[in-house]
Every structure is written in C-alpha cells, then in structure tokens.
Symmetry: C2
Subunit: 138 residues, 2 copies
Amino acid sequence: MPAKDRYHETVKNALIKDGWQITADPYPIKYEEVKLAADLSSQRTLSANRGTEYVVVEIKSFLAPSAMREFETALGQYLIYRTFLEVTHPDYRVYLAIGSTIYRTFFQRVAIQLILKKYQVSLLVVNLEQEEIEQWLT
Amino acid sequence: MPAKDRYHETVKNALIKDGWQITADPYPIKYEEVKLAADLSSQRTLSANRGTEYVVVEIKSFLAPSAMREFETALGQYLIYRTFLEVTHPDYRVYLAIGSTIYRTFFQRVAIQLILKKYQVSLLVVNLEQEEIEQWLT
C-alpha cells in the first residue's frame, strides 16, 4: 500500500477508535460547477459524524520533499473546501489531519503558526503509530 | 524555453511595457525561519515598482491538467506570501498574474469567484500574445 494511503487508513482508524462513524470516504465536495473529489483524485478527504457533530477531514501526509510546498497546497485546498462547505453544509467543521511528528516540528514554526492563526485552520493531530487522535485544535 | 518560463518572461515584458521597473527576479520572500524562494525553486515570483508603487507578482501558467489543482496551490501560495509581506513590507501589494484566456474561462466560474472575493485575491490579467497588461483587479 502506498504511504499516502497508509496515512489515510491510519486517520480513519483513529477516528473510528474515537467513536466516529465514517459517513463518506472519499467525501465528494461539490459547489456549483466544481466537483472537487472528481477533479482531485490524488487527495484524500473523508466525512464522519459522532452524534450530532459532523466533520470533514482533509488528510495530508507531508511526505513530499518540501513541507512548505505541501503546506501551500494543503492551505489552498482547506480554505476552498471550507468556503464551499460554509455554503452547502454550514454545520460541518473542516479539519486538516496531520501526523504528530510534523505537528511538533514544521507546524510549530512562527511563520506557520502565523498562517494557521490568520486563516483559522483547524488541525486534527494524529499519532500515526498508535492510530490515535492526539488533539483537535481549533 | 519551457512554457512555464515563457509565461514568466511574458508577464515581465508586459510589466516593463506598462512602465514598471523589475526590482527582483525572482523575489525572495522571507519571514522568520521560512525562505520561500529557496524552498520553492519551481515557482516564479518577481517584484517591481513604478514611482512609489510596489508590487510582488506571483506568476501562474495554468498549464497543468487540472486547473482546480493549480488554483489550490496558487491560492495557498498567494495567501502565505501576502501574510508574510503584510508583516515585512506592508506597502507592497501582491498580485496573482494569469493569462487572459484562463481568466475568461476558469476564473469566471461562480465557485472560483466566491473564493477570490472571500480571500480578496488581486489578479493581474495579462494578454499573453500581445505581452500586455489587460487588467489589474483588486
């Protein structure tokens, strides 16, 4: 299984362990003429619910040589998804799922923290070895 | 010359024709630990001034198979650059430079217009054949 897909399964298992039910995998985000899941088959998004809470999770492996480049794409995708979902499903919260190692390194940089705060990016930090959710950060 | 670099030269020539002086090419955006030009050698950014006006221009060719995917990366980069520049050079305006054909097609979609408006993305629309600036859109 490619590493990218392993991350996807790991995040999914962590959510299930945390009491979430996966409702769509992948989750096809649609708004007007844009169908994101179809257009972007290489990326991974899923939706889940726990009771009355609904989340859409964008999973990013950060396995590319440049974490900054992956972050740029992740940020663009995240903000586009969130904007569309605010219109179509205002009760859904959107999270960017990342591993705990990249969270403790790259994501702690002052420059990255500035961006996360300015654009109010919600993070789901997953311990990839334990397949467990560490933190929901909003 | 690869097509990506042709776009870069075209946008640069259009700016010069419009009375701008190119001040850095590429323009190295730096903020705290992040040096963007070094980290992202495949992308193109330049700075220019005309009298007391200063601009930083991020050039996007939209030659990739998926315009949506290129837009996601472009949006992420644009917002990151703008956030850093707001701190380091608050007098600079940041523009995303695109060709007039992609502007009249993909960028007119309702979904894309929603994103551009929400995140106040400034566009520099360039006629690539004439090497001329068509519009500055803020």
